[in-house]
């Protein structure tokens, strides 16, 4: 059948790893499904097996500790994060990014990890997570490893993940807690829209400025750290040299470049001046 796939709903990580080992590239993990199901329906993707991870307790965990920071399990939805008072207090920038994703009903399903694994250049949580130095915990039957989010993206819709691996959680380190930050996103309407270009800025430990940009290159990009007394023009210069926006039906390259400059200036005024 056209949409035909076998649906699995493992109850543990061990079971999940077994399924991934067995089916490899023939299977796809389903969490929120807000991209996956749309793509399957449109005939853009086809899988023999769909593995739903929402029934695995540890992947639904959203927790914070002073030692480990914020841990966002692979099945944690955007709304769960946004409504979590600790996340709001300690990682406000990330919540602000998550609040701009799609619409309220979609945020109730879409997951933070899904937003990252999907690896769209316009992923809204990516700039925030990059600024906050997020780490990705990857698991498989042969063990687990942690890599920095900035090294996880490989290209448009491509991440460093083998067919037998899955992202178990995203960890936002304690060093980034309480960071001041904000996110600015250009849209065509005020309601839900993909970012035409967006910029997140954070001030880490009160002395490092971090800037990350989405929809301006094949992957979301993070600029090198700036010290707090860096002039805004210098940041803009580095940003414009780092990004490689394109012309498409959503926006032109010129306008994207212009708006990156405007957003960095405004974020700088808001957070640093």
């Amino acid at each position: 059948m056209q949409f035909g796939f076998t649906y699995h709903r493992p109850a543990s990580v061990i079971e999940l790893c077994e399924l991934l080992n067995r089916y490899g590239a023939k299977c796809k993990i389903l969490a929120g499904g807000t991209d996956l199901i749309v793509d399957i329906r449109a005939g853009l993707k086809k899988y023999d097996y769909i593995v739903d991870i929402k029934n695995i307790p540890e992947l639904n965990e959203l927790s914070f500790s002073k030692q480990k920071g914020l841990s966002i399990g692979a099945a944690v939805t955007c709304s769960q994060l946004i409504e979590d008072s600790t996340a709001q207090k300690k990682y406000h920038l990330l919540c602000e990014c998550a609040e701009t994703i799609a619409s309220y009903p979609l945020r109730n399903r879409a997951t933070i990890v899904g937003n990252i694994v999907n690896a769209s250049p316009c992923a809204d949580t990516a700039p925030g997570l990059l600024c906050l130095d997020a780490q990705v915990l990857i698991k498989s039957s042969s063990g687990e490893k942690t890599i920095a989010l900035k090294d996880f993206f490989e290209g448009v819709k491509k991440v460093k993940l083998a067919p037998n691996e899955f992202v178990s959680k995203i960890i936002v380190p304690p060093a980034s807690a309480e960071a001041k930050g904000a996110y600015m996103k250009l849209k065509r309407i005020k309601g839900h829209d993909l970012s035409l270009v967006s910029v997140a800025m954070a001030v880490i430990k009160k002395n490092i400025i971090r800037v990350a940009i989405a929809s301006a290159a094949p992957t979301p990009v993070i600029l090198p750290d700036f010290s707090k007394n860096t002039k805004v023009d210098e940041i803009i210069n580095v940003a414009l040299k780092t990004v490689k926006p394109i012309d498409d039906i959503r926006s032109s390259k010129d306008y994207r470049l212009h708006m990156i400059g405007v957003y960095i200036k405004r974020l700088y005024e808001q957070l640093i001046k």
Binding site: M1, Q2, F3, G4, A42, S103, L186, R188, I189, K190, G191, H192, D193, L194, I249, R250, S251, S252, D254, Y255, H258, M259, V262
Partner: protein, 790 residues
Amino acid sequence: MFENIDPKELKYVGKGLKRIDGIEKATGDALYVSDMFLHGMLHAKVKASPFASARIKKIDTSRAEKLPGVRAILTGADLNYRVGLYIVDKYILAKDIVRHQGEAVAAVAADTEEIAKAAVDLIEVEYEELEPVLDPLKAIQTDAPLVHPDLGKYSYVEAAFTPVPGTNIANHTKLRKGDIEKGFKEADYIFEREYSNPSVQHVPMETHVSIAQWQAGDKITIWSSAQSPFTVRNLFCYSFGISHKNVRVIVPYVGGGFGGKAGIALEPLVACLSKKAGGKPVKLQATREEEFNLLACRSALVYKIKTGVKKDGKIIAQRMEMFWDSGAYADYAVNVTRASGYSAAGPYEIPNAWLDAYTIYTNKVYGTAYRGFGHVEFFWGLERHMDYIADKLKIDPLKFRLINTLKPGSRTITGELIHENSGNVSKCLETVAKAINYGVKTKEEEKREKQNKTIISKAVCALHKAPAMPPFTGTVVIIKMNEDGSVIANLALTDYGAGTYTSIAQIIAEQLRIPFEKVKIAFECDTDRDPYDWQTVASKGLMLSGNAAILACKDMLEKMYDMAAQILRANPCDLRHNDEKVYIVHDPHKFVRYREMAVGYAYSNGNGIGGPLVGVGRYTACGLTNLDKETGQGNPALDWTYGAHGVVIEIDPETGEFSVIHSASAFDAGKVINAAAARGQCVGGFIQGLGTAICEGYIYNSKGQLMNPSFTDNKIPTAKDIPEKMEVFFVETPQLDGPYGARGIGEHSMISVAPAIGNALKNALGIELLRMPIRSEDVWRELSKKRKAK
């Protein structure tokens, strides 16, 4: 039928009563065709052309036929029927040639939707790609390839349209008033500019969906999400040569249409699949993506206006050229061309006018009716042009408009005389200007500018529109009284969201003097059971069907009076009615209750008189004419509804982003029948107008393929885009042939939103945007150009 009744004496008319369909829609009880499932029903899918223009060399359905569960497969070769509203130019499935990307070349009916889709994927089509005709201005050049080489052979409505065989011109509408050359000679200044806008999709909440069953003896039943059941039936019967009595069209609740469901769409294809499948019912519902390029859209327009004015601001001559991009088929686009042609100068008096309006075939998605019927598109140019002239003359744009507005004694460009009861556009303009504090910036606005580092700007624009319909358009309402004295009204005007039925229920309650709760309007329309109505389009529903409802009540009352005269032994002229009773005027305690007469009156000994009560009201537009084909002169308008929009916008000059923070709209509604529904229409229309203005529109690549056939890249406004403050005002200059003096307002609310925003941007930034939509990037780009030029 305007009756000069003191509003204080009206019990229901004019009040903001709750919609009669509110509960079933809020609870989900209302049944739509999307919800329907019939026993043994098959599901259909279509195979769409990936090319804008191509020759079909071969279609191989053999693999699809072998798929279990497939019950019928059709290709263009199987169907030799053409369909068309005004020009019969479209095959049910493309035959030999495809004329736009997304056009159906084959269709499958199967046991499930999934099997149908899988079968469609197994159909192999071999195409020879042809050079598409995409630019309407190039399409009318003599060497352009022809989209319809057989145009000369098609049948068409000759009274209204003029196709030009051997060209891509599906219709050429002409209008000549006065002496244009003399007018331009007498002008002190001449201003000329060109404005354009793209095609736009209606995006109704319920996508197009039809179920059809073609049974033995060519007895056909169609359930459809359609605006006009009788037009579906008529066009269907015309195409297939089947008697009207054999075809039954049923329209239950409809989830929005905005003109996109005005004519005929999926019905013929679904019926043919049912026939091929041996008479099983077949259902086809368009996906959201198919709404964009299998179904029709709003036509794109290029509008060239050349205006001659005197120093004092009086327009003396105007030459107008409209190039309507009809896409692959003429559908409604030819009538959009005609109707916007006779309306093209707006609510202004132009002594010398010249218009050429062309409907041009191209290899793009075909154009159909869309709320405003051409007026949203051409008013974008016209009202931008009015500000352009005012600016050049250094006259305030509002003042410039007021100098030129149609007033009693003016003649429209078709020569129609405007009188005291035609409506008052000047008053609409003045009302919105006052509401937005036009011409000044308030203290709060200045404070806001400073706080937000923004610029606040204002503009007002006028609008008008008359229904586009055959001059003899008529309708019927039938009212039946029940045993308890409640009534049920049947009419085939549909209520696909506008709230017209509630207004008609108010009119019936008012006329019969019964409680509003005792009136039911049967929501499901059925051509076998309901009396005729032409179409639910053109903002004419309330006026024509409202009049028919009044006449139906009068007819029923006459029958009740006849009966009551016998029962009460009175002269009918001495009878009156109120509180569900007919009584003797000079002896009110002698009365007979409606319910006693509802199914005929029975005397105590069992004798009966009268018979069950039915009221029939027939109404036909009065005094309208076809327009002269050479001069465009004549009387096309049932009524002119005038209006105006005022906007206050806030602009971020650094990014080009802007938003409407305050809107004021005023319409001369003649008489508001339902205050809440009228406001709802006006608020909704403004937001739809905002979508057209800021973000909607088809984007094609150089091969004629649609780049944004979904909500991903064809955005529509959301709740967050609604202006902070929206005001709606009604001027009430009674329409003498309107029910209680009412006119239609359904489409008008979205007409001049875009130019008002364009003009406000011009006023604040000095930038001249001539193409819709106005995206923030466009504002930024024009501003950058201006800064560089300095």
